[in-house]
Symmetry: none
DNA sequence: TCATCCTGTGAATAAAACTTCACAGAACCC
DNA sequence: GGGTTCTGTGAAGTTTTATTCACAGGATGA
């Protein structure tokens, strides 16, 4: 069952949203304060969080940051009556999945929920692979650099990649590209351009997370 | 030299922005239309793009999408006179790095440019020596098992560990224990009991996270 | 004390990961 | 056509990682 948490200090609105989501087949947890939300978060794994921007105590943006620390990819939809471009941009910069302004139509909210969940599902799409491959593949710094460069450029030709990484020996590059292809992180299109697969993107995200975790 | 492209159909504004950026030490390319921007993009690698949201012909949002196809992580700052929450959210959802409303103060724009470039630079610094050790150490399934067992038991004696993992050859275990000790994941107390260090605990958490991320 | 298990070292060996070298077809430019 | 760059293969060689073997001191217990 898809678990959704609704965080809003406005009891009426929170309960009506929870009711609608419940009728739509979701399992809903309610929290009236940011601190309460964090407690729920520690106890249960959620698939989506609806978050009021303006709350007494721990504010929505700050809470969003705390959620990101714990669950970097958990989808969060921000809700607010005080719509401003700055707030919206700030929320999206913090990694909010969507931004809904009050008052909203219920079907609009449901559409947003559906879309965000759909995206999340796509995000962690069918990738049953073993940790061994991923870790040993990523344990080589050159391969990590290759992935990062390809991600940055979108698609790259073989020789451009060599030059970017200042690799004089192209067969060495070939060796590592082969490994990355076999691991399913890279693919080549019909014109031989190298690009990241969705798995590759996902895995790079994991590396970033690890780096961040190990940084402090 | 940092390459910036300014895309705006308003010639006055475009040229004044280009001038300011030029004085700030950036190499600036101008485009008055979305199509022109795509041509530039095909010829040169940019570090940042300033993009007007509303343009005749190919619009800013659509152009942003096209840019994302080619270069998923190329920083793009959206500029618009018609600030609306919806537009801002849509732009950020497409992966814009920031969103600036006209009329803007030049120093505000420069600040935004500086910040976004700074973030991109941070993204790129993935030369963590630590990551190598961590990943190569964890890429061995036996070592991951050792860590997991030690965590589960708290502290363990050498031979108990061997038996738990059903390793008949104790020197093999010794080999891997040595690596784990050198990486700083395991330590031995005065009575030779093996236990996780705080780094070890942290790293195990990361492995769990990765496993979860890659599981479904 | 003697036998046994625990904990470890160092060397030899095997396997894997990585690099380098030699070559070659396809595409592109003159 | 002829030279050059791009993209690749396969094999040989090197380095790193992993396993196995031989041995040994210290603790433990009968």
């Amino acid at each position: 069952m898809t678990e959704i948490m609704v965080v809003d200090d406005d009891q009426d609105l929170r309960e009506s949203v929870a009711e609608v989501l419940g009728e739509a087949g979701f399992s809903v947890t309610q929290a009236s304060r940011g601190e309460e939300a964090l407690e729920h978060l520690a106890l249960k794994n959620f698939d989506l969080i609806l978050l009021d921007l303006v709350m007494p105590g721990l504010g929505g943006l700050e809470l969003l940051g705390r959620i990101r620390d714990k669950a970097p990819r958990l989808p969060v939809i921000m809700i607010t009556a005080f719509a401003s471009v700055d707030n919206a941009v700030a929320a999206m910069r913090q990694g909010a999945s969507d931004y809904v302004t009050k008052p909203f139509r219920i079907d609009g909210l449901l559409a947003s929920v559906g879309r965000v969940l759909e995206e999340a599902r796509f995000e962690c799409c069918r990738t049953s692979l073993d940790l061994d491959t991923v870790l040993s593949c990523l344990s080589n710094p050159l391969r990590r650099e290759i992935l990062a460069h390809v991600e940055q450029e979108g698609t790259l030709r073989f020789m451009d990649l060599c030059r970017k990484l200042e690799l004089e020996d192209h067969t060495k590059m070939n060796f590592h590209l082969k490994i990355l292809k076999e691991a399913g992180f890279l693919s080549q299109d019909e014109s031989k351009l190298y690009g990241l697969t969705s798995l590759g993107t996902q895995v790079l995200g994991c590396v970033r997370f690890l780096t961040k975790k190990l940084a402090n």
